[in-house]
Amino acid sequence: MSDLIDRYLAAVAALLPKAQRQDIAAELRDLIMNRVEETEGRLGRRLDKRETEDLLREIGHPIAVAGRYGPRQSLIGPELYPFWEFAVKVMLVIAAMATFIPGGVLLVIGDADAHRIGGLFGDFVSLAFSLVGVATLVGAAIERGWIKVDEFAKWKVADLPHIPRGRPLFAKSRFDAVFELAALALFVGWWTGAMKFPIGAMFDAGRGDLKVILAPVLTTFYWPILVLALLQMVSAAITVIRPGAVRARAAAEIVCALGGVALVAVLWPAQPLIVFQAPEGAYAALGNLRRSVDLSIQVILVVMAAISLTTLAVNAWRLARGR
């Protein structure tokens, strides 16, 4: 009987924090011995092996018993849970977009086979698990106070966005900003090479000797593009943290829009921005594809310029009015 109790206590003790191990195990031993004596007193005889096992099972599995002495029971507590759930939903949307949009492009340019399409689902699951894992780690760190979010906890009603009289044109909701922030974080991760995405398949994998690469001008403007993306993240972060800070948001948006206009101005004459490298014969056959990609890039640059100029005008107006 004593052997069973010793083994049970050793199993619990192994899972306890070192500093409290001996103390808690000694107290548990006293509890078990009291229970044994009580039961033996009732039965009028010593407990056999099976009865001792039943008694220990009643006290609980060693993992559960040791777990009750832990400082905290939940990874993400009930107060933080809704925020974590929201972050996970955003991450899943981002993972789907980062996986399936490049996948769609591969389909359109005819570089998709069954193997690669199948691989996309694997990429999605892998990226989604990684992002949800990051959200969970950050949530757990916030829950334990390792990451301070005092500013977020001290939110003011006055910081909430104004109720629009009809949704104003170009207005950015908090959800839009969270989405933008996550998407930009992924872009920065890809741009700096810190994260690998399926989009890489578009640029470094080709059929045979075919290579699809970014034009050298984009490498030249590596830092300005990175700084612009980070500035845009700051602007989105202001919208998330202080949606009522209209002037600060407007100022950040103006800086980003000026950067956007400048970027379009330097990239336009440097086209093509995506370069195809292939053997002589194969290169000629890529004519239609090259024209389509070049046209798409031109459309993107024109749209980017239009959005930047509109953002500039709208935010200059907001900066002046303060709402």
Partner: protein
Amino acid sequence: MPTDTDIFESLRLELRRGTLILAVLAQLREERYGYSLRQALQAVGVEIDEGALYPMLRRLETQGLLASEWREEDKRKKRFYQLSDEGRRVLARLADEWRAINAALEPLL
């Protein structure tokens, strides 16, 4: 789908959680060790699972509401708990709170 019994049980547990701390603190005006505390609570009709009681005693001690010491009794070392001065003050305030809640709820029930 949870049954009515499941829902009742979960609400009952939620209702009891805070009151158990009050009962434990009240019983520890007098020095007791874990097992004798459980028996004392049982004697006045308050059932508490040992799995919850012992970690609760540790938490209350960490919060400074209880003081404890190891002593030998009946040829075995036991850890005796008792309310600290801070524990007495907190218990008095919690008891007032309990009476106020009870007085407010009783006419409603």
